[in-house]
């Protein structure tokens, strides 16, 4: 139950939202789908003085083509990512990941921007955005800046977004034709966060690839596997991918789903599985 009082604002323009945010001096929270913020408030883990909704701000959602890039609005809901034809064609990893997020209700409320700013270490889109080389566009009253997804996540539920900034767009380079990609996750029950998740992209020609892993440390990690697969995606190459994933998961920590050792071992398993699947798809 949220027993503390707070102000609620539903601005109708981005500028209005930005100025409300600035005025609050850091004590306001933006709300998108509310699928993470509301539980945090209910459990007393977040107690903002004001909640500013982005739901009435026009132009923050939807998927557009912008040359070689998909420009995805921060307010795009999981359900849209799961079903949008542009995503299916140019960034199928996002659609794959969206399928797993929560349940039907959550997928119709929760947003891409909300997931990235909430930055749960096992959230489905984190490794996906790294593997896709996404860029995150942040806007404040002072202007716009763009951060590479791989630089965005700083610690558990901590990102490089600053007070006064709104995540407005995620820019995802289109995967070149002939690429292969795969997203897989290990979970205990459906509709809940993953224990470990992994996203891989193998470029056309199968010489270059990368894999990103979530749930194996405070932030997602990415490995360039090109050196391992350059001379073919053999069992031996996949073993080297696994070893690299195991090393990259050195900051894994234990929780109710398993200890650090288990998570590190799962990094090995899932890195190999997604690279194998992505390579099988690539031409």
């Amino acid at each position: 139950m949220i027993s503390r009082e707070y102000e609620f604002h539903a601005p109708k323009t981005l500028n209005e939202a930005l100025s409300l945010l600035e005025k609050s001096g850091g004590n306001a929270k933006l709300i998108a789908g509310g699928m993470s913020l509301v539980p945090m408030m209910t459990l007393g883990l977040a107690h903002p003085d004001a909640v500013i909704s982005l739901n009435k701000v026009p132009g923050l959602d939807g998927v557009k083509e912008d040359g070689g890039v998909l420009a995805i609005g921060a307010m795009t809901r999981h359900h849209v990512l799961k079903t949008n034809p542009l995503i299916a064609q140019h960034a199928p990893l996002l659609a794959e990941a969206a399928k797993y997020v929560g349940d039907v209700q959550v997928r119709h409320r929760g947003t891409l921007g909300g997931v990235l700013v909430h930055a749960d270490p096992a959230a489905d889109y984190l490794p996906v955005c790294l593997a896709l080389g996404a860029q995150i566009k942040l806007q404040s009253a002072k202007g716009v800046r763009t951060v590479e997804a791989r630089d965005f996540f700083k610690d558990i539920m901590t990102t490089s977004i600053e007070d006064g900034e709104i995540l407005v767009e995620v820019r995802v380079p289109k995967l070149p034709a002939g690429s292969g990609s795969s997203y897989q996750r290990l979970h205990r029950v459906e509709g809940n966060y993953a224990i470990v998740n992994a996203a891989a992209v193998v470029e056309p020609g199968k010489k270059k690839g990368r894999v990103a892993l979530g749930g194996v440390g405070p932030t997602p990690v990415m490995i360039d596997v090109s050196a391992h697969i350059a001379s073919g995606v053999s069992d031996d190459a996949l073993r080297r991918v696994s070893d690299a994933a195991f090393a990259a998961a050195e900051n894994a920590y234990g929780d109710l789903n398993g200890d650090a050792k288990y998570k590190q071992a799962m990094a090995r398993v899932y890195a190999q599985r997604v690279v194998r699947a992505a390579a099988a798809q690539a031409q």
């Binding site: 139950m1 949220i2 027993s3 503390r4 539980p39 459990l43 290990l186 205990r188 029950v189 459906e190 509709g191 809940n192 966060y193 224990i195 109710l256 789903n257 398993g258 200890d259 288990y262 071992a265 799962m266 398993v269």
Partner: protein
């Protein structure tokens, strides 16, 4: 038509599916206030002082109460069990703790306010000065000398012990071909009803009547508990149970919030409601299951088990007035379940710790006994090289050996265990599984098959208990226009017993079910009864309904035979008619007969029957023995349903994750009144059993903090995580109940425990994986695989 044996949907479906049910939180009487509770943040601490000023000054706050006022004005909470009669230790547990908290979540203070948000904020503004004490959170550590004491006056942390013996175990072990020793560990988990605990108390000083709407399973016992705890007459309380969104045993009284709310409503003379939040229910709504069972078995080369020594250590949490700790007693009571083992020693140590007290949870300790026996049978099979099914078949009590007395004094009524196992093995095509397994392995898939055997005694009846008794009552009333009203002492938590009871009465009176209305859960209108638990609603409530309806049947047959001018023995009743046997066209309608009794009681046909068509009858189960024998044993469960399950899983050996491919069960709960609802009940049981076996875990840290306080961490399976179930019934009637019913409500939760361990081990047989501990999370299975491989991965 005949209704018994017909699968029909619940009479409550229309209303509930339309969202038009009425639950406690739907009641909003004029002027209603809200109660919020401040709970202990410590597992063990002394309360030095409480400062309520800040809370009292908040606008909207009506009243703030602490344990001092409670202890001065209320009795300790009345016990669900008579602990003394059970040979156990008890405690004085107050509705609010006056002095010393013993688990995180125990109620310390409460606020009543105009709205629930204010009540919550004010409760959080109460300042309590605690002196932290050393908690004890592990049962075996709690048994060591010098351990911190949960109850210092007790001198130790043992709530109750038992020691049952039969035959000569030492000799059996000396003469055995082989022995095995081991342990099985069941973790702490509990039920998670969709509707949390909820109560509404409303006091009318002019009638001196406290009306208490409760999401409870036991309105009449609750009235006794409230009356005794508040020190007021029972007749000044009316408990009403509206629709209940799931109980599973956990809505059995006596929680602290219940008498607390009743006291406050009387004191403030305003309606007050309390609806628990999920976190509050996970913290303080009753836990269950946490038990370690150490065993040694002696066996012969042919697979017969000749001796068993078992030691049950149960962590029942902090002592309270709740009936949960009895589950540990029942675990020891059920061993060695379906098996005929001549030489036994079974010891029980129920240990208290600084964790949430147990409350009843579907399975009630029976599951642990069957789980251990399943592990034992699998291990004997492994050691002797015999098939797992064969070992069970060689050790079962045989159908002709009932009633069978087990080492604990339990008197098993009837059953055909070999037949049920054979049937389930046929269903799953056990014989051809090895070929299927080998084919899958060629594709790199690891399939395994497992067997689970459950024995689920029902109809719990404990000596001198206000709550747990082997009897219940029912009123059947035929109204002048021929409609039937049934008022029951049992209640339904949403499981459909009202429908089955209506079916029983419909058959007995020969009336169609559309003419029947069932009323449950109101202490002012229903006959005194004990409510719902231990699958008793059909065993006790259904039998009482049958007996009461029969009384009316006899009376109506008499009148009908007069109207038909034949002998009563020649008349039968069906389809709303009384008719001449063999000549069904000669009939009088049910309505005519009812009308005759009411309107023509001085006339010819009804002249020699008593006026009125109403009967209240009680049924007492004959298979209960409360006179202790020389070992102090008594028989508290009259009815013994059983079930054999066979499960096929596919295991991912790299991650430890498994998927259930097929789940088959043959269930025997005696005569089944409504196969559709019985099966629905079983499906729920299977899912809870799978949840317990693999998903759900209440995790405490060493300081006694609960780490799983939301559904994000306490992970229940949903429909997408479980397979579809294949169920067949076998009917071995109870010789003790008028219809041969045995009870189905708790069945299903046990099979998955042993069955899944068995199946996973079988899938990984070439790796020699051993599973001894639940839950079977991916990481635990993965660790077992690693351990089997010497830890090198």
């Amino acid at each position: 038509m005949k209704y018994i044996g017909t699968g029909m949907t619940s009479l409550t479906n229309r209303q509930l599916a339309a969202g038009k049910g009425t639950f406690v939180a739907d009641y909003k009487p004029e002027g209603m206030l809200h109660m919020a509770v401040l709970r202990s943040p410590y597992a063990s601490a002394r309360i030095r002082s409480i400062d309520t000023k800040a809370a009292e000054q908040m606008p909207g706050v009506v009243y703030v109460i602490t344990g001092q006022e409670v202890a001065a004005n209320m009795n300790p909470i009345f016990e669900a069990y008579d602990t003394a009669a059970m040979g156990a230790k008890g405690v004085k547990w107050y509705a609010l703790v006056p002095e010393r908290v013993r688990f995180v979540g125990e109620c310390v203070a409460a606020v009543v306010a105009e709205d629930k948000w204010t009540a919550r904020a004010a409760a959080d503004a109460i300042e309590v000065d605690y002196e932290e004490l050393q908690p004890v959170t592990d049962p075996e550590k709690a048994m060591e000398p010098g351990a911190p004491l949960v109850e210092p006056e007790w001198g130790d942390n043992i709530l109750v012990t038992r020691d049952f013996r039969s035959g000569d175990p030492d000799k059996a072990f000396a003469e055995a071909d082989g022995t095995i020793s081991g342990v099985v560990k069941q973790h702490r988990y509990t039920g998670a009803a969709i509707e949390p605990r909820a109560y509404l108390a409303n006091y009318d000083p002019y009638q001196d009547l406290l009306t208490f709407h409760a999401s409870t399973q036991n309105p009449h016992p609750m009235r006794v508990f409230l009356a005794e705890t508040l020190g007021i007459p029972e007749t000044s309380i009316r408990v009403i149970q509206p629709h209940v969104g799931g109980g599973f045993g956990l809505k059995i009284p006596t929680f602290q919030e219940e008498p607390l709310l009743a006291y406050l409503a009387r004191k403030l003379q305003r309606p007050i409601r309390f609806v628990a939040e999920r976190t509050e229910d996970l913290l303080a709504g009753g836990h269950a299951r946490e038990e370690r069972l150490y065993y040694e078995v002696a066996y012969k080369k042919d697979g017969t088990v000749t001796g068993l020594r078992a030691k049950v250590i149960a962590d029942v949490g902090a002592p309270s007035a709740l009936c949960g700790w009895g589950q540990s007693f029942v675990t020891s009571y059920c061993i060695p379940t379906c098996y005929k083992i001549p030489n036994n020693r079974v010891q029980l140590f129920s240990v208290v710790t600084n964790k949430c007290p147990w409350n009843a949870y579907r399975g009630y300790g029976k599951e642990a006994a069957s789980f251990m026996m399943d592990r034992i049978m699998d291990n004997v099979a492994r050691e002797t090289g015999l098939d797992r099914a064969e070992v069970r078949l060689r050790n079962y009590i045989q159908p002709h050996e009932f009633p069978y007395s087990q080492v604990s004094g339990a008197m098993l009524d009837s059953g055909d265990y070999p037949k049920a196992l054979r049937k389930v093995l046929d269903m799953i095509d056990y014989e051809n599984f090895p070929a299927m397994q080998a084919a899958a392995r060629k594709e790199g898939r690891y399939l395994g098959i497992g067997i689970g055997q459950e024995l689920t005694p029902e109809g719990c009846s404990m000596p001198r208990s206000t709550l747990l008794g082997g009897w219940d009552g029912c009123t059947v009333r035929v109204n002048p226009s021929g409609q039937v009203t049934i008022l029951t002492g049992v209640t339904s938590p949403g499981s459909g017993n009202e429908t089955a009871i209506a079916q029983i009465v419909a058959d007995e009176l020969g009336v169609s079910i559309d003419h029947i209305k069932v009323i449950q859960g109101d202490t002012d209108t229903c006959p005194y009864g004990l409510g719902n638990y231990s699958s008793r609603s059909i065993i006790m409530g259904g039998s009482a309904a049958k007996v009461a309806a029969n009384e009316l049947r006899e009376k109506m047959l008499k009148v009908a035979s007069k109207l038909l001018e034949v002998a009563p023995d020649d008349v039968d009743a069906e389809d709303d008619k009384f008719f001449l046997k063999g000549a069904p066209t000669r009939f009088v309608t049910f309505k005519e007969v009812a009308s005759t009794v009411y309107r023509d009681c001085h006339g010819k046909a009804a002249f020699d029957v008593e006026p009125g068509l109403e009967a209240t009858r009680y049924f007492k189960h004959p298979n209960v023995y409360h006179q202790p024998d020389t070992q102090g044993r008594f028989s508290s469960y009259p009815s013994w349903p059983n079930q054999a399950v066979a499960i096929i899983v596919e295991v991912d050996p790299e991650t430890g994750k498994f998927k259930i491919v097929r789940y088959c069960a043959v269930h025997d709960s005696g005569v089944v009144i409504n196969p559709l609802l019985a099966e629905a009940n079983l499906h729920g049981g299977f899912v809870q059993g799978i949840g317990g076996a693999a998903f759900e875990h209440l995790v405490y840290d060493e300081s006694g903090q609960l780490l799983t306080t939301t559904f994000m961490d306490y992970t229940c399976p949903t429909a997408v995580d479980v397979p579809s179930f294949e169920v067949a019934h076998q009917e071995t009637p109870s010789p003790f109940t008028p219809l041969g019913t045995k009870g189905v409500g708790e069945s299903g939760v046990t099979g998955p425990l042993g069955g899944l361990c068995s199946a996973i081990e079988n899938a990984l047989a070439d790796r020699n994986v051993r599973l001894t501990e639940l839950p079977l999370t991916p990481s635990r299975v993965w660790e077992a695989i690693s351990a089997a491989q010497g830890g090198n991965r």
